[in-house]
């Protein structure tokens, strides 16, 4: 049973949970994700990357940001609660080898999926530089965990409240201009950030790998909803990915497709929040 073993609020909208899932913990590798539902009758299926796993405890760690109805609902789950449906690990694991110099660029919540990848890269003997970008100081997560791994850690915030006041592409460009330019860049974060990271490295011809998070239903290669244009081919993120060559991904199309259900999703979210609010009012009245 997929019980929640531990829950921590990392910032206003960001939560960490450890979930009992011994089989997934045993099999998962860096780069893989799970699909979960908060209700197995009326819920939707959402993909979330696995941030960490503990085979002794038999748990996986997810870190998620509240962006819609299901993540909002998930945030209301507490220790001891059971997740009605959890499937994984899905997707191809990250290809890890000793590339030499590796740069990990993480935007916002992207630090979570990057954590096991950075760990694996370090273990494989790479020199690892980690760039963490966030809107503001309180949204910088897992800083300490990443500092332990990184040979070099750069923090960027939009408002300068932590680290340097810059977008992640600024230090990335600088690293590309060094004599010892990166052998690989891995970028995980919002699509627009991954797009601009790929554009930043393109002129320097540095291989840039991105991890895509598209709309998915089943996550096992059946629905085709997660398709993206990569080079001249159409790929399914769930079985061909989630990682692809950022220089080949058609980010504009991907971002457009992510907005397909925007209006409906907004309504669902609003209804859910209002209902929760009304219920709490009722409880107070009692």
């Amino acid at each position: 049973m997929n019980n929640i073993l531990f829950k921590q609020q990392l910032s206003q909208d960001v939560f960490l949970m450890r979930i009992h899932a011994p089989l997934i913990a045993e099999e998962r590798q860096a780069g893989q994700f799970i699909i979960l539902q908060t209700d197995d009758d009326y819920g939707e299926r959402i993909p979330l990357t696995i941030a960490d796993a503990d085979t002794v405890e038999g748990s996986i760690t997810i870190i998620f940001q509240v962006v819609g109805k299901t993540t909002k609902h998930l945030a209301t789950f507490n220790v001891g609660d059971e997740l009605p449906a959890l499937l994984g690990p899905l997707g191809k694991p990250t290809h890890i080898e000793n590339f030499g110099r590796a740069v990990c660029v993480c935007g916002g919540i992207g630090v979570a999926p990057m954590h096991p990848i950075a760990q694996a890269l370090k273990k494989a003997g790479n020199h690892v530089t980690i760039i963490i970008g966030a809107r503001t100081k309180e949204l910088v997560i897992l800083e300490e965990q990443m500092r332990v791994i990184a040979d070099e850690l750069i923090i960027c915030t939009d408002d300068g409240s932590a680290g340097i006041k810059a977008l992640v592409t600024a230090p990335l460009k600088e690293l590309c201009e060094r004599e010892t330019k990166p052998d690989i860049v891995i970028a995980i974060g919002p699509p627009v950030m991954m797009k601009f990271c790929s554009e930043t490295t393109r002129p320097y011809n540095v291989f840039t790998q991105v991890s895509l998070n598209t709309i998915m239903v089943d996550g096992t290669g059946m629905c085709g909803g997660c398709r993206v244009n990569v080079g001249k081919e159409v790929k399914f993120v769930c079985v061909d990915g989630p990682e692809f060559d950022g220089h080949l991904v058609d980010f504009d199309n991907m971002m457009a497709r992510l907005s397909a259900y925007k209006d409906i999703e907004r309504t669902h979210y609003k209804c859910f929040v209002e209902k929760a609010y009304n219920n709490s009012l009722k409880e107070e009245a009692l």
């Binding site: 089989l23 997934i24 099999e27 539902q37 209700d39 197995d40 009758d41 009326y42 819920g43 939707e44 299926r45 109805k69 299901t70 009605p84 449906a85 959890l86 499937l87 994984g88 690990p89 899905l90 191809k92 239903v217 089943d218 096992t220 290669g221 059946m222 629905c223 085709g224 909803g225 398709r227 993206v228 244009n229 159409v234 399914f236 079985v239 058609d250 199309n253 457009a256 497709r257 907005s259 397909a260 259900y261 409906i264 999703e265 669902h268």
Partner: protein, 497 residues
């Protein structure tokens, strides 16, 4: 054929029953030939195109009996040859004619555990009913004995009257069988292996069982509670069920044998990978694979206001393809409130792979058929949303390798169809997950798992069947493969005792 209400059909059946019942056993062939084929009562088209309820209502007892009188009880049972699971058709129909429904269903269930499903979704006109002597003597396949409807009738009778008999299970053998995928092939293997006393576990990636029966076939054609009932029967037989478990990822296929001690594995993962047409604009917003469209609705209940899973709001929908899946998607779009729904198919109606009955039902519900036309390019607006398709007209040329007259494009016949949603239903490829994670497993060029005549794969103890072997086929063919696989597994395990 015009729409007739259930009441009209019932009155007709009652009067026919009055006429024939006294001498039912002694009717001559000529007399049987004269009894009109009993139409299936269906919901009013106007009503049903706005609800999710089952379209076909099922025969009444009287209708079933009259239809059973039509059966000639041929000495040579041609109909059975067309049935992939070899139901003793004349025998179960004879029981219906005598009013012995309990005996009739018992005969059916000797060979199939899913009669309520098969009676609804099998392409009977291409299987049992194709070989029916009555249909042949009347030179009209639509005049064959309605075997499928009778099968459905007895299965429904059993379920509605709470008469489902849980099949007996032999004493435990201590052997373990893993069934990967809970679609029609997997369900058959689970039942057949469990009956022999083996411990059986079904692994399903989704949170609910049934595979394509659940996510692919809409409730208006196959209600979910019928699938639930079949699964309940399996559980009552002692089959272990593990949902949310994707073999290949949650556990490697080989680990099921090496670490978990399964003595045999059956792979029935189906043909899940959607095929696209490879035309411009297929990744615009508003273009869906039929799988995604139907899964959101059938499995995730996106039609229900309570559901979180969103569905794309559509006004004018084009469905590309001419198979049963295309019909399901088109009729579903109508039910979700689309004003116009077009089926765009590049050949003619005669060449359409969909069942005739489904095409008829779609037409009755207001789906428009654009035959001998094909999409050339999907057009979008500045925000990347579909706002039309460029189609081109075809004519039929010489027969191609499939024996069907091949469509030939008419140059300069392009026109634009004004739609905001496109559903691609041109077929499925094999699901790549197992072969991707089990490189030693032999597959063919199309990714289908190759098996020998016993359904065994290139790997010891591992069998496969259904669409993952056949490519996208039918429920009943998958069940036939499941039956054969189970027999091979049972034989292999019996030798090892």
């Amino acid at each position: 054929m015009s729409y007739r209400t259930a009441k009209e059909l019932q009155e007709e059946a009652e009067s026919l029953l009055n006429e024939y019942s006294a001498r039912a056993a002694t009717l001559k062939v000529k007399e049987r030939q004269k009894i009109p084929s009993q139409d299936m009562p269906v919901q009013d088209p106007e009503l049903r195109s706005h609800n999710m309820e089952e379209v076909a209502l099922g025969y009444s007892f009287e209708q079933a009996q009259v239809e059973a009188y039509r059966c000639l009880q041929c000495a040579k049972k041609n109909c059975m040859e067309g049935c992939p699971v070899k139901i003793d058709i004349p025998r179960f129909i004879d029981h219906i004619a005598k009013g012995e429904i309990e005996q009739a269903i018992a005969v059916v269930k000797q060979t199939t555990l899913l009669p309520a499903v098969c009676g609804r979704v099998c392409p009977q006109e291409k299987q049992c009913q194709l070989h029916c002597t009555l249909g042949k003597s009347l030179k009209d396949i639509d005049s064959s004995v309605a075997i499928g409807r009778l099968e459905r009738f007895v299965a429904d009778w059993e379920r509605i009257n709470d008469k489902i008999v849980i099949p007996s299970v032999k004493p435990a053998t201590g052997k373990k069988v893993a069934v990967v995928g809970s679609g029609p092939a997997g369900l058959v293997v689970a039942a057949d292996c469990r009956r022999e006393g083996h411990h059986v576990t079904i692994f399903e990636a989704f949170h609910k069982l049934g595979g394509v029966l659940r996510y692919g076939i809409p409730e208006f054609r196959l209600p979910n509670d019928i699938i639930d009932k079949e699964i309940e029967t399996l559980a009552a037989m002692g089959v272990e069920i593990k949902a949310n478990f994707v073999v290949g990822r949650t556990r490697k296929l080989t680990d099921l044998i090496d670490k978990d001690g399964y003595d045999a594995v059956f792979i029935g993962t189906g043909a899940g990978l959607p095929v696209f047409m490879g035309i411009e604009g297929e990744n615009l917003i508003g273009v869906f694979a039929a799988n995604e469209y139907l899964t959101r609705i059938n499995l995730m209940k996106a039609f229900d206001r309570k559901a979180d899973t969103p569905i794309y709001p559509s006004k004018n929908v084009a469905v590309l393809g001419g198979g049963n899946v295309a019909m399901d998607a088109a009729r579903m779009a109508k039910r979700l409130g689309a004003e116009k729904v077009f089926v765009v198919y590049r050949r003619g109606e005669a060449e359409m792979p969909a069942r005739k009955e489904e095409v008829l039902h779609a037409r009755e519900e207001g789906v428009e058929f654009l035959l001998l036309k094909n999409a050339k390019k999907i057009l979008g607006d500045e925000s990347g949303r579909v706002n039309g398709i460029e189609c081109v007209q075809y004519e039929l040329g010489e027969p191609d390798a499939s024996g069907r007259r091949s469509p030939v494009q008419i140059p300069g016949s392009e026109f634009i169809l004004d739609v905001d949603t496109v559903i691609v239903a041109v077929g499925n490829g094999s699901n790549p997950l197992i072969s991707q994670t089990t490189p030693q497993l032999a597959v063919n060029k199309r990714g289908n798992i190759t098996v020998d005549e016993t359904q065994q794969t290139s790997m010891k103890r591992i069998f496969a069947g259904g669409d993952i072997v056949l490519g996208a086929a039918t429920v009943i063919l998958a069940m036939g493969e499941g039956r054969r696989s189970a027999a091979s597994i049972n034989a292999m395990l019996a030798e090892e005792v």
